[in-house]
Amino acid sequence: MNIPKLVIKNITRKKGRFVFTLLGITIGIASFVTLLSLGGGLKNEVKKQASELGANLIVTPKGWCAYEQISVLTGEQLPEAIPFDEVKKISAIKGLTAVPYLTERTAIKNNPVPVIGILYEEMKAFKGWEIEKGDYLSSQDEKAVIVGSGIAQQFKLNPMDMLTIRGEGFHVKGILKETGSKDDIAIFMPLSAAQKLYGVGDKVSFIAVKVDDISKTDEYILKIQETSNVAVVSDKQLLKSVLSIVGTVSITLQLIAAVAILAAAFGIINTMMTAISERRREIGILQAIGAKQRTIFGIFLLESGFYGILGGFIGVAGGLVFSSLSAPYISQNEFTAFLKGSDLAAALDLRLVIGSILFSFFVSIVSGLYPAWKASRLTPVEAISYE
């Protein structure tokens, strides 16, 4: 006989109570892991998209809020508010490259897909795109589109296929090589064609700017603002403001999970207090045959900790499975639209796995402290005389 064996025998003797208490901590940890994993995936993806954007500065209409800034990264439809004249003025500033975006939406087989109007030559140079199949755009007026690899795969598109966008036919001219960014899930068409199709005059949604000398970014911001009546945000500021929103959402979700874990902790305390009350006599027997107070304390603390370790393992596994299963469904939401396919990296985060199990163990140990102390304070005679 050894202490761990005794602990397992004790804890599993009331199977129903064991299972329900274990479920409490398991569900708490599973929800914690799910939310942390999804939040981590979201943050990684925001960072990835910000770097894939390839811009040092984003020029937006004045008065855009954070949601619209997020949409720059997610590829959501944006209001068109910058006249093309402003694009020209900004492009004329020496030492920077400016590419305008007109981001709109269409639907293919009832699935929303971003349609982005671009200056095709400038964009190709800006992004370093390569063509997988077919050809690249060759005129601002042609009624053709190029599509990202993800869209081509999802809707089984090939060069020369026809796509109907807003009731007009466009032929698929080429398919982009996979970039790993949101460019894979968008349709690109010449800017003027997009402006005509969506009836937005000569306006664009935002302008991505790459500067030649990163150390002079602040100077360029001033120059752009002097030249044009627009707002300028650096990629770092954009990332920071988007991450702060994502962070707030993550923290809120984690707080909800923390409440679940707190409830589970009280479940453990309740179970342990009941066990001590039922096993008073047994505590006396153990003391009579030589168990020290600290051994009794240790036995009950381990029983409580066992819930944490086991609940932690099952909860982490359940949370990871649930987060990877649920990610595609949550990705229907536009805020988390870019989660798809990004959850795996977070799921394999060893720090999250070990951290959550340790957290679970810690919570259950803390929950067990008071009951274990109560058990160890019983004197042998009062415990053994208990009927």
């Binding site: 006989m1 050894n2 202490i3 005794l6 025998k9 004790n10 003797r13 006599r281 047994e282 006396g284 027997i285 153990l286 003391q287 009579a288 045959i289 030589g290 168990a291 020290k292 107070q293 600290r294 051994t295 004197t379 042998p380 005679v381 053994i384």
Partner: protein, 224 residues
């Protein structure tokens, strides 16, 4: 070696129940020789079990001292008392007090676990002791599957697990039918023959007749 294994000196135990002070023991002086078979008898509620608890270090006296082999155990810490109980005293109770979720073998092993006996030795010795009390076919039986007499024999095997010099028994046959009582008593007498010091709290006149020392407790005092 000291021939007196247990000595009590003016042992007083009081309990406070609200404003009332109850005297359980009113100054007990007692000497138990090593290897003897002693009985503590007396009416119910007169302090027999309290005396046994104090001798076994399960409780502390309000005044006075208990000496085991010359060592004043009333000065020992809780941890020191636990060690004393683990290594030098074996208890047998009226209601067996076995751990219900463990098998008979595991019950005996648990006592050895607290004296830090290696697991392999625990297993061997538990089997040996259960065979000694005639339960070699009940190693894996849980207490609920056994008769009262069998349970008490397991309790005796557990009390012997750490090879203590002294066995303290509180009404060991008090909850048994006559057949089981005979079984258990024969085990107890055997143990005495093997040299163990046995102190029994009992109402059983047969045990008292066979005892070498009989100490009658009445109103918390030794009744001469």
């Amino acid at each position: 070696m000291n021939d007196i294994i247990v000595r009590t000196e003016n042992l007083i135990k009081t309990y406070n129940t609200g404003k009332v002070k109850i005297f359980a023991l009113r100054g007990i002086n007692l000497e138990i020789p090593r290897g003897s078979f002693s009985c503590i008898i007396g009416p119910s509620g007169h302090g027999k079990s309290t005396l046994m608890h104090l001798i076994g270090g399960l409780d502390k006296p309000t005044e006075g001292s208990v000496f085991i082999d010359g060592l004043d155990i009333t000065g020992l810490s809780n941890s020191g008392l636990s060690e004393l109980r683990a290594k030098r005293i074996g208890f047998v109770f009226q209601f067996f007090n076995l751990l219900q979720n463990l098998t008979s073998e595991e019950n005996v092993e648990t006592a050895m676990m607290f004296s830090k006996t290696p697991e392999k030795t625990q297993k061997e010795k538990a089997k040996e002791l259960l065979s000694l009390v005639g339960l070699s076919d009940k190693f894996n039986a849980k207490p609920s599957e056994l008769s009262g007499g069998q349970q008490q024999r397991i309790a005796i095997a557990r009390a012997l697990a750490n090879d203590p010099e002294m066995l303290l028994m509180d009404e060991p046959t008090g909850n048994l039918d006559s057949e089981s009582e005979t079984e258990v008593l024969s085990q107890i007498f055997k143990l005495h023959k093997r040299g163990k010091t046995i102190i029994i709290v009992t109402h059983n006149s047969e045990i008292a007749r066979k005892a070498e020392i009989v100490c009658k407790i009445k109103d918390g005092r030794v009744d001469k």
